[in-house]
Amino acid sequence: MEHIRTPKVENVRLMDRTSSKKPVLGTLYLTATHVIFVENEPETRKETWILHSEISSIEKQATTAGGCPLLIRCKNFQVLHLVVPQERDCQDVYISLLRLARPVKYEELFCFSFNPKLDKEEREQGWRLVDLREEYKRMGIPNSCWHLSDVNRDYRVCDSYPTDVYVPRSATAHIIVGSSKFRSRRRFPALSYYCKDTNASICRSSQPLSGFSARCLEDEQMLQAIRRANPGSDFMYVVDTRPKLNAMANRAAGKGYENEDNYANIKFQFIGIENIHVMRSSLQKMLEVCELRSPSMSDFLWGLENSGWLRHIKAILDAGVFIAKAVAEEGTSVLVHCSDGWDRTAQVCSVASLLLDPHYRTLKGFMVLIEKDWISFGHKFNHRYGHLDGDPKEISPVIDQFLECVWQLMEQFPCAFEFNERFLVHIQHHIYSCQFGTFLCNNQKERQELRIPERTHSLWAHLWKNRADYLNPLFRADHSQAQGTLRPPTSPCNFMYKFWSGMYNRFEKGMQPRQSVTDYLMAVKEETQQLEEELQVLEERLEKIHKIPLSHMPGKRDSKHSGLSALTTPTVVNTPQDSGGHLKPLPSRSPSQGDDDSALILTQENLKSSDPDLSTNSDQESGVEDLSCRSPSGGECLPSEDSGKDPDPDEAVFLTA
């Protein structure tokens, strides 16, 4: 490719930031899609693959005697610290990456060249996996009060909304269009979630263009229609997720918020979630704390507090809790908006839906939730996550915060979610990776114009295919946490908000728990299942043998006793395992080490970066067995960015001095 000035640099050193381990020597390759570092170590040849679209910044530091340091920071929080021997090579790599990491056309993104070798039918099926019409049907829509409106056909009313919008039956096209003219970017109130049990709904929109005194009859009628669609309640909440000050400032620009006097029977509420700029700098500050070299506890806690990150996370969750409570307990409908209604509104609506409906806590349901509240309602993935080179001020970790809210809830309710932490981490990875078309563009209209489903693959299908990796073994559909509304405790509960090191420090393996309960339990579960299947086969066979008249048994006649002994013999002979093993509730696991990693390397190369793997480092020193090979079917193992085992037993990481 024309932007690659040098495709290969040898004798590059990869430094380890957190421990005092020796740097590893290897070769750096630049390809059209990836940066690849291959270690020289002949036994492992460990490879690190990084997609160009994953790179968030490249920093070239002052040349030292040892070479020229190059820092590559990734959007998935990996930091690669390389030292290139020749300044000139470093400069070439630097310049090449600067360009490669900032594509200007969608066609440059990896998803257009990514080919997982699926046939057309399979790919189309993948795109149909998540079906929002199905989802609204599941909620009970259309019904007597709500229906699917075609008012936005061909994106005539609002170009950042989907064509399928659900609105109250009583809201005529005239009302909708009128209301849309009174809302920022014409994002009129539309249904996000409907609660069958209480008839209450969550609707979303952008801010009204109310200024200091403007009114709009149709908008007032629209809200009234939403309120009336819930006959059980005589009022509705309007939740503005912005801090009051921000909302007031918007009034001067002819925007603002609903005046309670103008709208009949609404209760207006500010929630105070900060805007994308505050969130961007908050994440930046937190990542600086994560990058500190052996910080003291005070450095860390002060830095974390100073970043404000956990405060923001709590604000989003609190907003979700407020709405969920209104819908589930008070049976009152809620209209949520912020400014444009595509960032904070998406966060808050999806958190509330997750709290309200156990379906969204399942693997499939969670995909549907993201599809519904984020993708279809026009969350600007391209701008927020910098897929194409653009305004850096548009970038903000909006959906990252939503994923963290989910993680915080998973920590509080370990049995409530069908999926595990890895699922969230992989989704986060692919939001930035652009390997699948799912998160491309800013809205449905753009995706349609680019014919995304015809030209790229769906992430959901990929995740669904590998769902065994994403299951939470503690989840049980009949558990109390897996039913009804989740009610996170309210104050004082600050101590329940934790730093998510599994996300922000996930490439610092030394900091992660060395043994995974999830992987262990999944392995046990699988083994139990296999044994049970085996048991069933044997029982069936036993039954069959019982049915054979005893006279037909070779060499045995009449005697009941001898017949029985004949039955047991073949059974035992044909069983590879000790038959006593069936009785054990917990089959003893044999630690499987060593070979597992090699299996991981043998995966299709074009899938190389599709899953940032979390668990392939076997840590022999700490006796942590590698569980990643648990899939008996083999082939489908997770490809990994840094597969290959660590030959160097982990040093005691605590010795920082």
């Binding site: 910080p295 604000a315 370990p414 996170p488 004082p492 600050n494 728990p513 509730p585 006796g623």
Partner: protein, 533 residues
């Protein structure tokens, strides 16, 4: 009997207000010599049995003809009782205050607690004095069991039997004991069978301002080093500055010149009053309803508790790494050698020795490195985080140890045979218990009070199969290797199980979640303390 004099009103009608994990109970409240009982009727399952010794602070409020008593317990639970009658409220409050602050050991509840399922003296043979020596003797015959302290004459806080280098006679030990604070001469704490290095512990040498020496003490350490390797490291759990000050009052540390082969390292660990303050502040911060998220982390930092956890783990890792990787022998001590010293030696063993991570091995470790080693439980755990008034000798060193173990269990969730429930139970029992295990300050006191013959052992209760299953880690799989924890701040967490009592938590513990997953009849995560009464 003296109890009856303290009970001003034995009975009243009361209402227990619902709290986290508690339901409302309305019924008759009864104060007995050792318990508060609130019963709704005949054998109702929601009956409240509270060991009065568990009460850390009593707050009373009266309004009209009734009153509210808030009992803040040492295990950090908070109970609110509404009591009918003004006089009754005041009388009951003062009865609880009087009974809960009794200091006499022999009239304490363990001397009256007689569960049907246990026999007195059950635990006699569980961890006999020579238990540790027998294990060491399997590996090497370089060490011997000395009974120089059989009548507690040489050291009041040591047990009667101690493991010392074989070549060192009892008279040398007695001399060395004279040179050490409280007579705590260097003894073997852990023998690392992989490479034969050893860890010793003691108290500070009585060096004083004029730098006294003791030939026998030097001989003892020389002999120990000769057995364990060539290089030795004295890990002093105080700062160099603190040692200097200690020297003025007669203490000090090992002079390099006097102990060839031994080098010195200072790793200051917090102890005593500052540690207690840290604990109090932590509980305050976790239960402060007015504290917003904006200020939570700086408040948490202000408590310093996590810093203490980090320091303790770091120091233990240093010792463990030195022994395992560098082949260095260690002598660990601070001043008295009964607090931070034990914290370090016991954690280092847990890191290195897989045997300590079993249910039995952990109990044995606690028995040897905390109870028999003379950690003054009675003084340290006299009060917990709620007590008013000046603390005297209180310090949550043992709780800090449990917290560090919890951090290990979080980073290596499969490697410990016991679960979080066990650690929480140990915390509760250390502060208030129907068992005699954590009574008194030393083996000598326990001997004088006849604790072993007149009270039941917590261990024999825990080892009953029903209890055992409850405290086991259902996903334990033995791990023969050392556990090197990460001590980065990102890897350490606040142990919420410990502080969560005062607030409602839906489900924090993975342990309770596992209940449904694995076939263990493991029902209640937090057992009441004396269900058998």
């Amino acid at each position: 009997m003296e109890f009856s004099e303290l009970i001003r009103t034995g009975r009243a009608e009361a209402l227990l207000l619902p709290g986290p994990g508690q339901s409302t109970v309305r019924g008759t409240l009864c104060i007995t010599s050792h318990h508060l009982l609130l019963s709704a009727g005949h054998g109702s399952p929601s009956d409240l049995w509270l060991l009065l010794h568990n009460v850390d602070a009593v707050e009373k409020r009266v309004a009209g003809n009734s009153g509210t008593i808030t009992l803040k317990c040492k295990d950090l639970q908070v109970l609110q009782l509404e009591i009918e009658g003004l006089g009754e409220t005041l009388d009951i409050a003062s009865s609880i205050e009087a009974l809960s602050s009794l200091e006499s050991v022999t009239t304490s509840y363990p001397f009256f607690f007689r569960p049907q399922s246990l026999r007195l003296g059950d635990a006699e043979d569980l961890y006999p004095p020579d238990h540790f020596y027998q294990q060491v003797a399997l590996e090497t015959d370089a060490w011997r069991l000395s009974t120089v302290n059989r009548d507690f004459q040489v050291c009041a806080s040591y047990p009667p039997a101690l493991v010392v280098p074989r070549g060192i006679g009892d008279e040398v030990l007695a001399r060395s004991a004279h040179f050490r604070q409280g007579g705590r001469f260097p003894v073997l704490s852990y023998y690392h069978s992989t490479n034969g290095t050893v860890m010793l512990r003691s108290s500070q040498p009585l060096q004083g301002a004029n730098r006294r020496r003791c030939a026998e003490d030097e001989e003892l350490l020389r002999a120990a080093l000769a057995l364990g390797g060539q290089r030795g490291l004295v890990l002093d759990t105080r700062s160099a500055q603190a040692v200097k000050q200690a020297r003025i009052t007669g203490g000090g540390t090992e002079a390099k010149a006097a102990y060839p082969g031994w080098k010195r390292l200072h790793r200051p660990l917090e102890r005593g009053r500052p540690l207690q303050d840290s604990f109090v502040r932590l509980v305050e911060a976790c239960t402060d309803p007015s504290l917003s998220m904006d200020r939570w982390l700086s408040r948490l930092d202000g408590c310093r508790w996590l810093t203490h956890v980090k320091e303790a783990l770091t120091t233990a890792c240093l010792v463990a790494q030195g022994m395992d990787r560098e082949g260095v022998c260690f002598l660990v001590h601070g001043a008295e050698g009964t607090d931070a010293t034990l914290l370090v030696t016991s954690l280092a063993q847990l890191i290195l020795d897989p045997k300590c991570r079993t249910m039995h091995g952990f109990q044995s470790l606690l028995e040897r490195e905390w109870i028999q080693a003379g950690h003054p439980f009675q003084q340290r755990c006299a009060h917990s985080a709620y007590a008013q008034g000046r603390p005297k000798h209180e310090a949550p060193t043992f709780l800090l140890f449990l917290d560090c173990v919890w951090q290990l269990s979080r980073q290596f969730p499969l490697s410990l045979e016991f679960g979080e429930g066990m650690l929480l139970a140990l915390f509760e029992h250390a502060y208030a218990s129907p068992f005699g295990t954590f009574l008194c300050n030393s083996e000598k006191e326990r001997y004088l009070c006849e604790v072993k013959t007149k009270t039941h052992s917590l261990w024999s209760s825990l080892n009953q199969s029903k209890e055992r299953q409850r405290f086991c880690n259902p996903i334990y799989s033995p791990n023969p290797l050392a556990l090197w924890p990460s001590v980065e701040p990102q890897s350490l967490q606040l142990w919420a199980g410990k502080v969560s009592f005062p607030v409602p938590l839906p489900a924090l513990s993975i342990g309770s979640a596992l209940t449904g997953f694995l076939p263990t009849p493991n029902s209640r995560p937090f057992p009441p303390m004396d269900s058998s009464t």
